[in-house]
């Protein structure tokens, strides 16, 4: 019941716009329900003493009624789910009504009022049939330790796996071939993408797409990209370096070995080096011993010194 109300609410806005040409069963269902509601509203109005009403006001009242009922359904559903049930009980509805500010005590009296009109039950329309999902295999029954009110197992294909094994490729030639073509494909795809999304140049006037060249774009500081190794290369260098220590890295490590002895002692002098932020902190210890004019602090102008 609550479900029906919820769907009615949700569907109402859609039905209005498409009521005329609606032909499918779901729409028919909603239409019929709405018609019933309209009858209800009209009878209530008659009860209240109206003789006639504009169509627009009836529509508005219908809408209000529908949303009120929908809200009751939605809210009742929440209460029932809150207590871990799937079907709302009477008390859920009562709590809902109370919550919505409705005096429940007046309800029995209202129901028994003398002048109430009885309207015929709405014609039975077919519930919209939700197309059945394609089932594959048989759903498993619950094992004994799972209570039966728990949802059913999903279709087996969603959780059953069939592992397959393939021989790992170990042939050198195939591996190289694969690596090469993979890289080439990636590169080609990447460059093509870049060419497609940016400006291009072409070697042929009649065809700009077969050999697209990414347009040459001048740099503001061209030497940086030209000289600095790319991040990829840096990464490679680190990898190869860690695997094989050779002379070249030894020389670079030299100062590092030295400063392990005295780096701590000379920490307070680091301010001297502030003019030269590029020097790594780890080398400070060694640099301080060096008396190089470019490392000396910049002097303050003379007048300030006098102060």
């Amino acid at each position: 019941m609550a479900d029906a109300a919820a769907t009615a609410g949700a569907g109402s806005s859609g039905t209005r716009s498409g009521s005329k040409q609606s032909t499918n069963p779901a729409d028919n269902y909603h239409l019929a329900r709405r018609r019933t509601l309209q009858v209800v509203v009209s009878s209530l109005l008659t009860e209240a003493g109206f003789e006639s009403a504009e169509k627009a006001s009836v529509e508005t009242l219908t809408e209000m009624l529908q949303s009120y009922i929908s809200e009751i359904g939605r809210s009742a559903k929440s209460y029932c789910e809150h207590t871990a049930r799937t079907q709302p009980t009477l008390s859920d509805i009562v709590v809902t009504l109370v919550e919505m500010g409705f005096n429940v005590d007046t309800l029995p009296a209202y129901a028994k009022r003398s002048q109430r009109m009885v309207i015929t039950a709405p014609p039975v329309t077919n519930q919209p049939v939700t197309p059945k999902a394609l089932t594959a295999g048989q759903n498993r029954p619950h094992p004994p330790h799972i209570p039966s009110h728990f949802p059913e197992f999903p279709d087996p294909h969603t959780y059953i796996k069939t592992p397959t094994y393939r021989e790992p490729v170990s042939d050198y030639q195939v591996l190289r071939e694969k690596a090469a073509s993979q890289r080439r494909d990636v590169e080609r795809a990447l460059t093509r993408f870049m060419a497609k999304t940016g400006e291009t140049q072409s070697l042929f006037k009649d065809d700009v797409s077969t050999f697209p060249l990414i347009a040459a774009r001048p740099f503001t500081i061209p030497y940086l990209t030209a000289l600095l190794p790319s991040e990829l290369e840096m990464q490679q260098m680190e990898e190869t370096d860690s695997s094989e220590q050779d002379e070249q890295t030894d020389t670079e490590n030299l100062p590092l070995h030295i400063n392990t002895d005295d780096s701590g002692a000379e920490k307070e002098n680091t301010s001297v080096l502030q003019q030269n932020p590029s020097l790594s902190g780890s080398r400070n210890g060694e640099e301080n011993i060096i008396d190089n004019p470019y490392l000396r602090p910049v002097k303050k102008p003379k007048i300030r010194r006098k102060k």
Partner: protein
């Protein structure tokens, strides 16, 4: 009053080397240069100089100084206002009204203009009148202090501003400025006596933005903030007397690196490049040690600075106690090819610190001594660092270069002596420029001049031994260093100037040998020797009849008379013979030591004492001669064309241990396309012990031979199986091993072989499909992931190889090149080039070597008619803002296009760039390329050659303030 300046100059020559007498009527003792404002936005400089001079003549009333493009505001002498005139005749070399327009006229006018401001003739652009109040003071030869306020706006030379147009402060943008120029061009940025012979002490002050560093000559005494703390002033003192021409400056937001081995050495580079700087300079201390050891003399200055800057004028420029390098020399540890080149640049600049900066020259005609000595000791460093093979290879290369140049243009004169100044006495009348002044030379001539100078020094060494040679250098240095510590009053400073006569006297004192004939032949006279040699073996007399002819009538040649060494390898060993080359003797009989007896199995002794087994079946049964070499030690500046049989060249290639001999035989074997030559070359290629450069040239020779014998060639294409064996996987021979460049020799060979192979052609004169597939596979399977080194040069050479494989397209007359009629092989090549070029945008390679190769390859495809010829792509890559190597490659293509398609529009575009490009190096390079590959030549009808162009070029030359415009002249 007549100008007195010229008289001492003439006296100087007569007096010879009895001390140096200045051509100027005063002596400079000290100069202050203070630049207190540098504006990067406007590219301007404001400052003053103060020169302390002592008059040497009583009636000195005019003082001439050098100054170019500076605006002079005010001149004061001893605080008195002084009148001055500024006139620079080089701004307009030939006056407008003159109708005459030929090279000769221009050259004379230009020489006259340069001469009119030459400090070594006592002249200058700036003429200052000594105020009359001081005349009495001058007559007593008392000190004068000349204070000049000047400014410089948008300098065209001398100082070069690099201001990248990005956001941020100048320091954040990496803006920098540095001094540059050719020879003595300090006058471009401050008034001075711009001569290498006027030495004085210096005080240099530069006020710069607080985030910047000013690097200059001498010791940094202190750095002081200005009052607003936004700027700081760098105070430098240079107490060693130094010529103004050796003063330099570099200002920028440099990163500072103190050399970990020598704390008095400091390196500077632009932001973000510090890791590269660390690696690049980590080697410098070894060069220091080497020079100090051989010269037995400490480095003369108390400190040394290297600065690496962008848009460099030249790769290396040496100044007193500092050198300015191109930032493009910096490299990381992953780069192989650049490392030796950069080290060579470092070593070169350091050699010039001793000879060139510390020791200066008396006059332009003594330049060869400085260039010679610095080049010579640099050669010694090469020998020690890269080995004897590399050294001999280099000497051979330099010798070939100078010989080719002299034969082409007609002689390089090291020590020009200018007589009465009459046109007839002009020792260089064959040239289109005057050699009287460094500024009137063509760039190429000067390069060759330096090359010849160091080769002549080597000849002197051959004559007097290296020991004596080094003693002479040591003597020059110790005299100079004693003099440098003296006060000005002692008149000792001229000891720091070297002159030809002084140098020669020193040689004769130290060695006791007379080298006058040698000097006369190579220094006082231009030209090289051209020998033609052939021989016959006289079996009866067991004598080798050698005939040596000379060509001394062609331009650039001279007659050689004197000893000539000939080495003959016989069955019994190697024998040296010294022949006397005389006027009329052509034939020389050389007795052979061994009888022809090749049946005996015996090892054959070589020159170096080694004994080897040889297969003697190829040789002439009647003759014991294996091979003959003329002047094996390269002790004459010569070209030798020697005839001997093919098998002799093959023996020489296989068994002679001297790399020069091997290289000569490779060159000779090109003319003998036989299976035996092929075998000899492949054997050399495979020999691990063989010098890698020899093996590399063997590759190209083998390709040529293979092409000549294409109809009889059997087996796979040349070098393919060799390459497969050396560099491909054992199990799958079509796949190259993953890169491992730990062995540089094989790296270079691996790089070169495909390039040479791509030159192979089949009977249809096409590159064999097999070769192309092979190269494409190399590219495909190239895998550098496990390599310690970058493969950018390798990949670039693979593209070069692809370009080499391209042959002219078969075209139906003037068919438009479209994609549809593209040759399928070319399509594959183009596919690779496109991918490489595009990948460069995402993952740029070091120095963009790959882009450079791609651009060249595209031009090759255009030229061969596979792709429509179109300069648009190259023009976009030639624009300012691309890396300089890319620009040059692109410009080369445009220049080539201009020539092939005779495009007036492109020529105009190039000329426009020559006039307006911000980078002087590029401007110079375009001119250079245009002369090397001229769009039209003198005798050719071309639509490009019209009146308007002549007009334009003439204007360009006439207003040029840069000597480099000279090259262009040849086009006309």
């Amino acid at each position: 009053m007549p100008p007195t300046g010229l008289e001492p100059a003439r006296m100087n020559r007569k007096k010879g080397d009895k001390g140096f007498e200045s051509p100027r009527p005063y002596k400079l003792t000290h100069q202050v240069v203070c630049i207190n404002n540098i504006n990067f936005q406007r590219k301007s400089v404001v400052g003053f100089v103060e020169l302390t001079i002592f008059p040497t003549v009583a009636n000195l009333n005019r003082i001439k100084l050098n100054s170019k493009q500076c605006r002079i505001y005010r001149v004061r002498i001893n605080d008195l206002e002084a009148a001055f005139i500024y006139n620079d005749p080089t701004l307009e070399v030939c006056h407008n009204e003159s109708k005459q327009r030929n090279l000769n006229y221009f050259s004379n006018a230009y020489a006259a203009a340069v001469s009119a401001v030459d400090p070594d003739a006592g002249n200058g652009e700036l003429c200052i009148k000594v105020p009359s109040e001081l005349w009495k003071h001058v007559d007593e030869l008392k000190v004068l202090k000349i204070h000049i306020n000047f400014s410089l706006d948008q300098p065209k030379g001398g100082l070069h501003f690099v201001v990248p147009s990005v956001e941020g402060s100048m320091a954040e943008r990496g803006a920098h400025v540095f001094s540059c120029g050719y020879q003595n061009s300090t006058r471009f940025w401050f008034p001075c006596v711009d001569s290498y012979s006027e030495l004085c002490t210096w005080k240099l002050e530069f006020t710069v933005d607080a985030a910047m560093v000013a690097v200059s000559n001498g010791d940094l005494v202190e750095t002081v903030y200005t009052h607003d703390m936004r700027k700081k002033t760098f105070h430098y003192m240079l107490t060693i007397p130094t010529a103004a021409s050796n003063i330099s400056l570099a200002i920028g937001p440099f990163e500072i690196l103190v050399d970990p081995y020598m704390h008095e050495v400091t390196h500077f580079c632009l932001p973000q490049l510090l890791p590269l700087l660390k690696h690049t300079t980590s080697y410098l201390h070894e060069v220091f040690e080497f020079y100090e050891e051989i010269l037995t003399c400490r480095y003369p200055y108390s400190c040394f600075k290297t600065v690496f800057i962008d848009e460099a004028y030249v790769e290396v420029a040496a100044y007193a106690s500092m050198s300015i390098f191109s930032t493009n020399l910096l490299h990381s540890a992953m780069i192989i090819d650049e490392t030796p080149l950069t080290r060579r640049c470092l070593a070169q600049s350091l050699a010039q610190q001793f000879f060139g900066c510390f020791i200066s020259r008396m006059s332009w005609s003594d330049e060869w001594v400085l260039k010679g000595i610095s080049g010579y000791i640099y050669g010694l460093w090469m020998k020690k660092t890269f080995g004897v093979n590399e050294y001999r290879h280099w000497i051979k290369e330099e010798l070939d270069k100078i010989v080719a140049y002299e034969l082409k243009t007609g002689g390089v004169l090291l020590h020009p002596i200018f007589g009465g100044g009459k046109e007839k006495d002009n020792p260089a009348s064959h040239l289109h420029f005057s050699i009287k002044h460094p500024h009137t030379l063509s760039w190429e001539y000067y390069t060759m001049f330096q090359c010849k100078a160091h080769l002549v020094m080597r000849l002197i060494e051959n004559r007097i031994s290296m020991e004596f040679m080094l003693q002479v250098f040591n003597k020059l240095l110790s005299l100079a260093s004693t003099a440098s510590s003296q006060k000005f009053q002692s008149h000792m400073w001229s000891q720091m100037l070297v002159s030809t006569s002084g140098f020669l006297k020193s040689i004769s004192n130290v060695s006791g040998k007379d080298i006058q004939p040698l000097i006369k032949q190579w220094v006082d006279q231009s030209g090289v020797v051209k020998f033609y040699g052939s021989f016959a073996f006289n079996r009866k007399r067991n004598v080798l009849e050698l005939e040596i002819k000379q060509d001394y009538t062609s331009p650039g040649t001279q007659k050689y008379v004197g000893p000539l060494k000939v080495t003959v390898q016989e069955l019994d060993g190697s024998f040296n013979h010294t022949l006397q080359i005389e006027e009329n003797s052509l034939k020389h009989d050389i007795p052979c030591h061994s009888k022809s007896r090749r049946n005996k199995k015996k090892k054959i002794p070589l020159m170096n004492g080694e004994e080897v087994d040889m297969d003697l079946s190829a040789m002439d049964a009647d003759s014991p001669l294996l091979w003959i070499r003329i002047d094996p030690d390269m002790s004459v500046l010569r070209k030798v064309e020697f005839e001997q049989a093919d098998f002799m060249w093959q023996y020489q290639l296989r068994y002679e241990r001297d790399v020069v001999a091997q290289q000569e035989s490779i060159l000779a074997l090109e003319k003998f396309p036989t299976p035996a030559s092929r075998l000899a070359l492949t054997d050399i290629l495979e020999q691990e012990q063989c010098f890698y450069r020899v093996r590399m040239s063997a590759c190209f020779c083998l390709a040529k031979i293979a092409n000549s014998m294409v109809s009889t060639w059997t087996g796979p294409p040349a070098m393919k199986s060799l390459f497969t064996r050396m560099f491909c996987c054992k199990t799958c021979p079509n796949i190259v091993k993953t890169n491992n460049f730990m062995s540089f020799q094989s790296y270079f060979l691996q790089k070169t072989m495909p390039v040479a192979m791509a030159l192979l052609r089949d009977v249809h004169n096409l590159c064999p499909k097999e070769v192309l597939t092979f190269i494409l596979d190399l590219i495909k399977y190239n895998d550098n992931r496990k390599n310690k080194f970058s493969d950018n040069y390798y990949r670039a050479e693979m593209i070069d190889a692809l370009a080499n494989s391209v042959t002219p397209a078969v075209s139906v007359n003037n068919e438009v090149r479209t994609l549809d009629n593209l040759n399928p092989d070319v399509r594959l090549i183009l596919e690779e080039i496109t991918r490489f070029l595009n990948m460069e945008k995402l993952l740029p390679s070091y120095r963009h070597t790959i882009t450079v190769s791609c651009l060249r390859a595209i031009r090759v495809l255009q030229k061969n008619g596979h792709v429509p010829s179109d300069p648009a792509l190259f023009k976009s890559y030639a624009e300012y803002g691309h890396f300089v190597d890319i620009r040059i490659a692109a410009l080369e293509a445009v220049v080539d296009y201009t020539k092939v398609d005779r495009s007036y529009e492109e020529l105009q575009w190039l000329l426009n760039m020559i006039q307006n490009d911000p980078v002087p190096y590029v401007r110079h390079k375009i001119l250079n390329m245009l002369t090397k590959n001229p769009p039209f030549t003198k005798n050719m009808e071309s639509p490009l050659c019209n009146e308007a162009l002549v007009d334009q070029l003439w204007k360009l030359m006439n207003s040029g303030d840069d000597g480099t415009y000279f090259c262009k002249l040849k086009i006309k």
